[in-house]
């Protein structure tokens, strides 16, 4: 089974996960198996199969306001707040 190119350390970095070298090795093996399994789907000839068009529209919302939360409720779970703003570690671009 040939798995597609996979760099677990990269993906973990994007997801802000810190993995130990052992974990990286372990997950690389596991994820490779999963991806290799998915690759088998590619063996099915789908050239003549028309694309499945969703039968129905998703539920759309008319453009009508509904009540929002109170500021108190909105901030209730914030770890830190000031002047009704949710405080977070300083963001620098």
């Amino acid at each position: 089974m040939s798995a597609p190119k996979l760099n677990v350390a990269d993906v973990a970095g994007l997801a802000r996960l810190s993995l130990t070298p052992d974990e990286t090795t372990k997950f690389t093996a596991q994820l490779s198996q999963i991806l290799a399994h998915m690759e088998t789907l590619g063996q099915i000839a789908t050239g003549d199969v028309p694309e499945v068009v969703p039968p129905a529209q998703p539920v759309l919302r008319p453009d009508m306001p509904t009540p929002s939360l109170s500021v108190e409720a909105a901030l209730a779970n914030a770890p830190a707040q000031s002047n009704d703003l949710i405080l977070v570690p300083k963001i620098v671009e």
């Binding site: 129905a56 998703p58 919302r61 453009d63 909105a74 000031s82 949710i86 963001i91 671009e93």
Partner: protein, 486 residues
Amino acid sequence: MSSPAKWEAVIGLEVHVQLHTQTKMFCGCINQYGGAANSQVCPVCLGMPGSLPVPNEEAIRKTILTGLMLGCRIAPVARFDRKNYFYPDMPKNYQISQFEDPLCAGGAVGLDPFLFPKDLQESDEAKAKRSIRLTRIHLEEDVAKSFHYEERSGIDFNRAGTPLMEIVSEADLRTPGEAFAFLGSLRQVLLSGGVSSADMEKGQMRCDVNVSVRPVGQKEFGTKVELKNLNSISGVRRALEYEIGRQIGAVEKGEAIQHETRRWDDDAGATFTMRTKEKAHDYRYFPEPDLLPVRTDQGLRKAAESGLPELPAALQARLMQENGVTAYQASVLAADRVLCGYYEKAAAGTKHKAAVANWILNDFLATQPDPATSPVRPEFFGELAGLVVEGVINSAQAKKVFAELMANPASPKAIVEKLGLAQISDVGALAAFCDEAIAANPRSVEDYRSGKSNAINALKGFVMKKSQGKANPTQVDEILKAKLSA
């Protein structure tokens, strides 16, 4: 020294536009600024676990409408995707956007010559009337607003989740002036469809610019630089002028252009490195599992079609052809639909449609009116134009009527009567004035008869003075000439 003929710039724009809707993209919180911080939020736009997005039909309709106005292909089936990244202004850690199947693809923005910077309107680049291709238009949600303090940042989620349309151009633009005209022309179309107010200075339209330089004639693009922090259409022009000069200067010195994002500082008039792009962003897009694909072929496209306005180019052509206004006037009117509506009302009841355009675009506009609420009824301008063309008042008198019209709005006919301005067009009365003038100015008469045709002006002046400015100047001219050549 950089020689402008040797290098050309290649410019592409990504324009974000805030849509005019009552509510946010995926929840019913109101889409409006100025409320107390975090007062227009709910579990959906705060990204609370377990909440589900429900798309705003109006935002989809307005995006399709924009695509129709710009000649895009409308996808029969469009999809939403998740764009994954970590940033505190996006509480879900992903933004719902569109990646594989945007609502609109292709299309173009035609550059209106009058929407180039004033100093370039007569230039070849303005006259070329180029059409700039679009890559795509998609719909996404805006992020929260952040405020930065000494040690921390504060987040207001009122803007989070509001509908944001992204319009991406092909790298077809070649000059800062074209980028300026592109944004102005695009804004005109967006305004005409009521899609957005699209004011860059208010953040309703935001623009990122990609720019590179290459030797004229080269096919391959140079290394591109992304410019950010552009807060006005003229700022985009200034930033591009600077950045193109900087890149040409660097290349001519043999330096390589870095693939990077640079920040425009309008006060300094320069761009500065923000971050280098060693690695392309990997947003790990995948189809949004909480939303079904959107079918536009089941009513949404039809609904958008029914809202199609008369497009700026068509409106301009009609006004020039049917009303005889100039190309410049047509462009001004097309850029301001409220003013245009006012003008069309004013012109509706009169034959003198071009004269009405002059009054409204020169005199009325100079008073900085709000045509939507002005107490001066548009029909008054039709009437005023008629009074001049029909010779009831002359142009000097018309200026007086106009001033009175602004001060105490009333029918121009009534104003003419009130101010006792009506022009004297009675041939007998005018002839009497002319005889008086000839008798009182023998030297001018002699001069005129000896070939100094300008001498007639002294006689005309005499008549105008005697008649307190009420004599019909065209008739006076005719009568005097007849009498003097007799």
